[in-house]
């Protein structure tokens, strides 16, 4: 009688283990069938700083380093874009394989001209993209980027935009590779990126 609890305990453990395996297999199946991590990113049609329409297909063959931000942002966005430029410098010859992209989350203010002039301040290699509010909403959704206008009650024109601050490294075939932290130096960013380049 006294050994009975000892027998049931392993059974409980086996039961828990079986359940855990089932859950993991199930989660794995969902991950696999939905493509797992690669569900970040997707097709887009936007306009560059020269007013030319570009799509994700135009960048095939290059790794993409994608950052979402806006030009009416004097502090964080310029810091990140400057660090992206520093990272490209630090990557040396490998930098040619990487195309940095800045996609605005403020299409109302950020016209192609504004975006083009803005990105030129940081690196001649940086491409700035804008679009209609719908096109921006679509690409942000694909990249799972959160953004929301924060109104300024006294000065409606001076609204700011809250937004996810993260970089996305995409493969030459357009698949998501890894998130890259935005709040790090260009040198550290370059190390992060270099680990994923073949």
């Amino acid at each position: 009688m006294s050994d009975r609890p000892r027998r049931t305990l392993p059974r409980v453990l086996v039961g828990a283990a079986v359940l855990l395996v089932l859950v993991l297999v199930g989660a794995g199946a969902v991950w696999f069938t939905q493509g797992g991590a690669p569900t970040i990113g997707g097709p887009f049609k936007l306009v560059n700083g020269q007013g030319k329409t570009v799509t994700d297909r135009d960048f095939r063959g290059h790794y993409l380093l994608v950052y979402f931000g806006y030009t009416f942002c004097p502090d964080v966005c310029p810091t990140t874009l400057s660090q992206m430029a520093d990272a490209l410098d630090a990557l040396g010859s490998k930098a040619a394989e990487v195309q940095p992209l800045f996609i605005t989350v403020d299409p109302k203010r950020d016209t192609p001209q504004v975006v083009g002039q803005y990105v030129a301040n940081f690196s001649p290699r940086l491409v700035g993209l804008t679009g209609t509010p719908e096109e921006i909403a679509k690409v942000a959704r694909e990249y799972r980027v959160y953004y929301a206008i924060h109104k300024n009650a006294e000065q409606p024109a001076d609204y700011t935009v809250d937004h996810s601050s993260i970089l996305y490294l995409m493969s030459p075939s357009g698949a998501f590779i890894a998130p890259i932290r935005a709040d790090q130096s260009g040198a550290d960013m370059a190390k992060d990126i270099a680990r994923h380049l073949s």
């Binding site: 004097p74 502090d75 301040n121 940081f122 924060h150 809250d162 709040d183």
Partner: protein
């Protein structure tokens, strides 16, 4: 009406700058005032370090002829989302310098009246809740620079008045 008058009278001492008005020997010093290259008509930024050897004070306003508006802002990261919010005042305390730097407190310059180029300098006036205004010179670093221009030594860009 009488109550309003009374309140106004009570508030008067708060509005009049108290403490020493001789800025050169005042307890507050402003150093490392720097900005970033940015085109005319767009937005710019100001960073600085404010030290206080006297009573606690608050930085409440900044003005410069190079911008239509200058507002004290703070960048805040919340769960991977960056937010920028105006703030009415930033505290300056003894032994605890107020550092305006990338990713935190900063002054947002709106409507730049001229293009700010790397190496440029421009005048800035900083106002406090108690201490008198302090005029300084800002030095322009490259666009998106993470720190003050290298050629700008400590103590450079201190107050004039």
């Amino acid at each position: 009406m009488r109550r309003l008058l009374l309140l106004s009278l009570l508030a008067m001492p708060l509005l009049v700058p108290s403490g020493p008005t001789r800025a050169e020997s005042g307890p507050i010093q402003v150093q490392q005032v720097w900005s970033r290259a940015a085109p005319q008509g767009r937005v710019g930024v100001l960073y600085m370090t404010v030290t206080d050897s006297g009573a606690p004070d608050q930085l409440v306003a900044v003005s410069t002829p190079v911008a239509e508006k200058a507002e004290l802002h703070e960048s805040v990261a919340e769960g991977g989302v960056m937010k920028m919010r105006p703030v009415a005042a930033a505290p300056v305390e003894t032994g605890k310098p107020l550092v305006l730097k990338p990713g935190g407190y900063h002054v947002m310059l709106m409507g730049l009246r001229r293009t700010l180029k790397e190496g440029d300098e421009f005048p800035v006036t900083i106002r406090f809740a108690h201490a008198g205004p302090i005029s300084v010179t800002a030095h322009v670093a490259k666009a998106g620079a993470a720190a003050a221009p290298a050629e700008m030594g400590r103590g450079n860009g201190t107050m004039s008045h």
